[in-house]
């Protein structure tokens, strides 16, 4: 498989801390790569370096297996931190500027506006846009000229649930047409929902990386709820693969033994004639996840 981006022992040292420390990773063509870490873990710094706006203290990176040049970035669509546009210009004028820089024909503007569903608002000034629309416009700008790679830094940050869902749909649609996506996020569920590969970083160091299913699904966690709460509790604790139980607001969080499966647990509950109102297999919460990974590191 072709390697789109290779990072080799990348380090960025600020006077008081290492923002990125000896980070190495390799991203294959067509993958959706998640860079997962809490705020301040070095995600944006890493992306800033590979996008040419931040200089690395040491280490290398290479796009498309070549030496880096600024014109390579014209094949990369990127949204770093915030949408950066002229507030006094219309969305269309802003996209024209991006198109000129990338050497893309103005005709492409309508296409990308269509993808992010902003076609009707193109002539409005950027300052009149809502946060979600600004974010979508930034994605539209990143999509100009059909880039081979899309780099998105916290694309759903600060959005309402509808905005988050819209952005996710856009990302998923783009990845379907074979565009490689690099997504930085602090939201585990976001990475889990859209990414094929993940690298977890904390304090600039890579803790773990690999296929998203291998990395994120480590434990059998099930949210389960029923109107007969006491009966449910009793049944859960008597299940053969039961490990631990925690009572949450309106559901029970049941941890099963590794050998046991959620299907068996579900079957067991049904055969015991209890009506289940909520049954979700979930991965660990980010908090739990990080506590665990950092403990190991």
């Amino acid at each position: 498989m072709d390697t789109i981006l290779k990072i080799d022992s990348l380090t960025k040292k600020y006077p008081s801390l290492f923002a990125v420390s000896q980070l190495s990773l390799s991203i294959d063509k067509g993958s959706v790569f998640g860079l997962l870490g809490p705020n301040g873990s070095g995600k944006t710094t890493t992306l800033g370096i590979i996008l040419g706006v931040t200089s690395a203290t040491s280490g290398n990176f290479s796009w498309f297996g070549k030496n880096n040049s600024s014109s390579d970035r014209k094949k990369i669509g990127a949204l770093l931190e915030t949408p950066n546009f002229y507030s006094y210009l219309s969305a269309k004028s802003n996209l024209k500027i991006s198109a000129k820089i990338k050497g893309v024909d103005y005709k492409d503007i309508d296409r990308v506006a269509e993808i992010v569903n902003l076609k009707d608002r193109l002539n409005d000034k950027f300052k009149t846009y809502s946060l979600g629309m600004k974010q979508r416009l930034a994605i539209a700008a990143a999509l100009l000229g059909k880039p081979e790679v899309l780099v998105l830094d916290e694309p759903t940050n600060g959005l309402d649930p509808q905005g988050i869902a819209e952005i996710r749909t856009v990302i998923q649609n783009i990845s379907k047409i074979g565009v490689t996506i690099i997504l930085a996020s602090h939201a585990l569920d976001e990475v889990e929902k859209v990414c094929s590969h993940v690298c977890v970083i904390k304090k600039g160091k890579s803790l773990i990386q690999g296929n998203v299913n291998d990395v994120l699904v480590g434990e059998n966690l099930i949210e389960v709820a029923s109107s007969e709460k006491e009966k449910l509790k009793e049944l859960a604790t008597t299940f053969s693969g039961f490990k631990t139980l925690k009572e949450e607001n309106y559901y029970l969080l049941v941890t099963l033994q590794d050998s046991s499966s959620s299907i068996e647990f579900s079957k067991y509950l049904i055969t015991n004639n209890i009506i289940i109102t909520h049954f979700v297999k979930r991965t660990k919460s980010l908090e739990e996840f990080f506590l665990e990974t950092t403990k190991d590191a």
Binding site: T54, K74, N84, F85, Y86, S87, L89, S93, S98
Partner: protein, 260 residues
Amino acid sequence: MLDLISIEYIKLKNNSSFWIILVFYMLISFYVVGKADSLPTGSDVFANPLQFPMIWLTSTYCASFLVLFPSILIILNIGNEFKYKTAKQHVIDGLSKTTFILSKFISVCLIATIITIYVILLSLFLGWQSGGEVQDFFGEQFSFIAGFYIQLIGVLSFAFFISILFKRTGISIVVFVGYYFIEVILYYLIFEDSPIRDYLPLEVFNSLTFSPIKDNLDSFSGLSIPEFKLSLNWFSAAIGAIYIAICLSLSILIFNRRDV
């Protein structure tokens, strides 16, 4: 190159503060140049500073006094790139840092060109109104238009360099205006007896436009009548060009060494 010009054109065309400051500058300079004939004149040769070919000295000299307006325009223009983080976005989108600085320098040249063309038209209009003779239209004094253009690009380059260095509009304006005072101190106090003072940047740029009135006043006072400056001092123009190159090179150097 054409792409870079059209990028800067889009940014300027839709910027209301650009138009407000530019129109303001044009109106004021029209008023100031137009009033020049009410000042005392004494020379026999050029009785009226608004007649050809003296109008070229008068208009460029008066217009150069108002250079603060376009300088603020440049500071705002560069400041926007940092305020909206579009400097960063341009680099992300594939401009090299050097190309970004050069693209912004195009704004300097665009604004200087617009103003110079305006001053030419203004001079032609006022000169024609004052009943100038056709053969005097483009005398040797027309070279002051070239001087004015270099002066304009020079002062704007200096404002450009300061705004790249300080990023923030407010600080840049304070430093830019503050430098005028610093140079006055350097000129009159520190380098009082030194020839260095003639090579201070703003002094060099100022020497590229020349007041017809000043000469007349000198002749009034009965002192030796100075040799009338008929054309631009091309040596000063060359020094000015060197200062422009320094401002541009330093801007490129600073921007390349910095994380955007």
